[in-house]
């Protein structure tokens, strides 16, 4: 499978990475001189910025080839189309108006290669009144309804940390790309997959809330460290951190009460009529219940609580920080983290496979490419440009 990636930062590159790590050939087109924006983003070893040492870039671009190309020039756009003729999938993340201006919109590209599958990943999509609006991750989670779900009542909503929305839209793009490949086998024709990051939030993550709103007038808001509807559905402090406590089933909650009551549901719970209904507790007495659990929680560490809960089959879990995650023994047994050797950084531990496929394993054969590392391979060996033409293209600031 041949993929052309004309995308920056996270969403498009993560889509490309998912394909590349399962064996697709992904050629990444980067802006001459500066390259992908993620090269400037970091983190950098010892906080020393360097375009070949950005952790974000290194992680997102494993197994890809890098070429530089100035697509704003007529020659650059022509070369891009040559590459497109040889490709199955074209991943891009530019504003729709920019693609139209460059003559790289789907209607134009379809004429170059009718089988091409164009995956367009943008904040708001290819249609609708906000199509041409500017948007970053925080704006997408705002429109998509994720932000109002996190934070404390009365205070500002919290956008998800890191760039979760970008990754989600990249993964959605990868699903759409393969779906379109299956469709192409039926029809012989390519198509454009339109992925809107805001819409990924609005459908997959918060869509069921709309059904509940229409059916019952319910509005999902933010309630700090808990979600009402059932108690417990909360994160509470313990001796050395926090524990995530969710029991949807009544028997799970009963097991926990028995655990803290040395085998029996404590009297203060059993004898209090206010605690009969867990929905009521969540709506009216949650603060009080948090306080009643606090003495037991504060006298145990999160690992102690986790191991007791696992023993009793109670689905509570510790809230780990990243250091604890990287050093987790379960993940070590599963060999989740992988060591990748890159010429500019030496060996480093990377987040690994999101899935283990028995026949077609995920693997990192090559580290992220250096900027333009594969210019000669792609332009000369694939497209047939001579070395001389290559240096002319370089002098003309095309590559």
């Amino acid at each position: 499978m041949k993929v052309l990636e004309y995308a920056n930062f996270i969403a498009g590159p993560y889509c490309g990475k998912l394909l590349a790590d399962l064996g697709a050939e992904v050629i990444k087109i980067e802006k001459p001189v500066v390259g992908d924006e993620a090269r400037q983003y970091g983190p950098f070893p010892h906080d020393l910025p360097h375009p070949e040492r950005s952790g974000l870039f290194l992680y997102l671009n494993t197994n890809k080839l890098s070429i530089t190309l100035n697509t704003e020039t007529a020659t650059g756009a022509k070369i891009l189309k040559e590459l497109l003729k040889e490709s199955d999938i074209f991943i891009e993340d530019n504003p729709p108006a920019v693609m139209e201006r460059l003559g790289l919109d789907y209607a134009s590209l379809e004429k170059v290669n009718p089988g091409i599958i164009m995956v367009s990943i943008t904040p708001f999509g290819q249609s609708g009144p906000y199509r041409d609006y500017r948007g970053y991750a925080i704006n997408c989670s705002a429109l998509g309804g994720q932000s109002v779900c996190a934070g404390e009542p009365g205070r500002e909503p919290l956008t998800p940390p890191l760039s979760l929305g970008h990754y989600q839209s990249g993964a959605a793009g990868a699903v759409a790309a393969l779906a379109a490949l299956f469709a192409r086998e039926l029809t012989g024709k390519g198509q454009q997959a339109d992925i809107s990051e805001a819409q990924v939030w609005a459908t997959l993550h918060t869509g069921n809330q709309v059904s509940a709103y229409v059916m019952h007038g319910l509005k999902r808001m933010r309630w700090g460290h808990r979600t009402p509807g059932v108690y417990p559905y909360t994160i509470l402090p313990c001796q050395d951190g926090y524990v995530s406590m969710i029991a949807i089933q009544g028997y799970q909650w009963k097991r926990f009460l028995e655990l803290i009551g040395d085998g029996e549901v404590p009297d203060w719970y059993a004898n209090d009529p206010r605690f009969k209904e867990r929905r009521e507790i969540s709506l009216k007495y949650a603060d009080e219940m948090d306080a009643l659990l606090a003495p037991w929680l504060m006298s145990h560490t999160k690992e102690e609580i986790y191991s007791l809960c696992r023993e009793k089959r109670i689905p509570f879990a510790p809230v780990k920080n990243i250091k604890e995650v990287v050093n987790d023994s379960h993940l070590e047994v599963r060999e989740y983290f992988v060591e990748v050797e890159h010429p500019a950084t030496g060996p480093l531990k990377y987040a690994g496979a999101p899935y283990k496929l028995s026949q077609t394993p995920w693997k990192v054969d090559n580290p992220a490419p250096l900027l333009g590392e594969h210019n000669e391979e792609v332009y000369c060996q694939r497209l047939g440009y001579s070395r001389e033409e290559l240096s002319q293209l370089r002098r003309g600031e095309i590559i």
Partner: protein, 402 residues
């Protein structure tokens, strides 16, 4: 007639709350025939979600939205007689999805090896919390706890304050997306080789995979990120700001110097924007609390939509923070048919989430509304499997089909 990308493929979904049903719905949205295996003896708690105020399994709003383009058969896999029926069904199918604890499918003789014996092309996707092996193999969790285990929840909270967590089934959706991709990749491989395969998707690992930069921050510099609030490493302003009205907020993000100039201009260039403490991005990042206060004093005079219109005209990223009702009525989400009206026998009309992706050649639709429990028993047991009526009646009487 419309052709769907996964036309002709059949998926058997053993999944329940949420990851399993979600991946199955994604494959269903793409045109596969998805059959959900469930039973009255042990209801999928997605049919009795906290938002199901009627406590009626066929009237659950989460289920109506999240489990569509799926058919339902009611058969209790804890009854030994159910197993051969399920195996027959899997032998004429392409993909099996499940998200039980790892021991469950093995105990029922429905593990990959047993299924592949009868159907070597079968692709099985298992999405347990922590994977098929390893010390946490039997871990039981809900999605929100998984973002805790994966380190993400520790970063959700106001800057420097306590961890609040995402409070959302983020991990389930994330696993479903990765699982759907892996299933399609495996189908693609099977087309060329005839070989099926097994996919072990630890939801925990799929979450960590989308936190790549935080992992790198620790690996490279030993730095552990705490609660981040709405702060961004390079953008400022970058926050949700209070607007006119009750609990109304607008998200604003300013990245480039050009955007900062546009932002100042849009606000009418108030004198404070000229002050030295906000002169460049470095200074603004250092003084972001002061800056946020001043921005709020401006946004509070306008509605969230007014701020969006004013700022977007100057090329500044500003979008309202929409709540459930706000999303339902937003003109952009409406025009893109983000939510669809679907008839349902128990409620009349529902609004459910539309497919996430828009494919130009395969228009989205909900071919099958969310199924009633066991609604498709007759189609599956009689038509697909050709079971005699007496046999079906007997299994019903013995509460195997139940």
């Amino acid at each position: 007639m419309n052709q769907y990308p996964l036309q002709g493929y059949r998926v058997i979904n053993f999944g329940w709350v949420f990851a399993g049903p979600y991946i199955a719905s994604m494959l269903g949205d793409l045109g596969a025939e998805v059959i959900k295996v469930e039973t009255r003896s042990r209801l999928d708690s997605m049919r009795l979600s906290p938002d199901n105020l009627d406590r009626e399994p066929d009237r659950d709003p989460w289920f109506h939205s999240g489990v569509r383009n799926q058919l339902s058969i009611s058969i209790d896999m804890d009854q030994p007689q159910a197993i051969p029926v399920l195996k027959d069904l899997i032998s004429i199918s392409d993909v099996v999805v499940e998200n039980f604890s790892p021991r469950v499918m093995i105990e029922h003789g429905l593990d990959y090896d047993s299924l592949a014996e009868k159907n070597p092309g079968i692709i099985m996707v298992s999405l347990p919390a922590a994977g098929q092996y390893g010390p946490l193999r039997d871990a039981q969790t809900y999605g929100p706890s998984l973002t805790g285990l994966a380190g993400v929840d520790s970063m959700v909270g106001y800057y420097g304050e306590r961890a609040l967590g995402l409070q959302q089934a983020y991990a389930d959706v994330n696993s479903a997306l990765h699982g759907a991709f892996a299933a399609l990749a495996a189908l693609y491989y099977r087309q060329r080789t005839g070989k099926g395969q097994y996919i072990d998707l630890a939801q925990l690992e799929a979450v960590i995979s989308i936190a790549g930069e935080a992992i790198m921050e620790y690996v490279m510099n030993g730095r552990v990120l705490g609660t981040l609030g709405n702060r961004h490493p390079t953008m400022c302003p970058h926050n949700n700001y209070r607007c006119k009205g009750e609990d109304k907020w607008v998200s604003i993000a300013v990245k480039t110097e050009e955007e900062w100039k546009g932002f100042c201009q849009a606000m009418g260039n108030p004198p404070w924007t000229k002050e030295e403490r906000f002169a460049d991005r470095y200074s603004r990042l250092r003084k972001q609390e002061e800056l946020d206060r001043l921005v709020s004093q401006w946004t509070i005079n306008y509605t969230d939509y007014e701020v969006m219109e004013i700022l977007q005209k100057f090329g500044v990223a500003a979008v309202p923070c929409l709540d459930t009702e706000g999303r339902f009525f937003d003109p952009h989400l409406q025009e893109r048919q983000t939510y669809l009206e679907v008839e349902h026998p128990t409620t009349g009309v529902d609004w459910v989430a539309n497919t996430t992706w828009r494919l130009s050649e395969n228009p989205t639709e909900i071919r099958y509304r969310s199924p009633l429990l066991g609604e498709h028993n007759s189609y599956v047991f009689k038509e697909l499997l050709g079971m005699p009526e007496e046999e079906i009646a007997r299994l019903e009487a013995e509460k195997v089909i139940y």
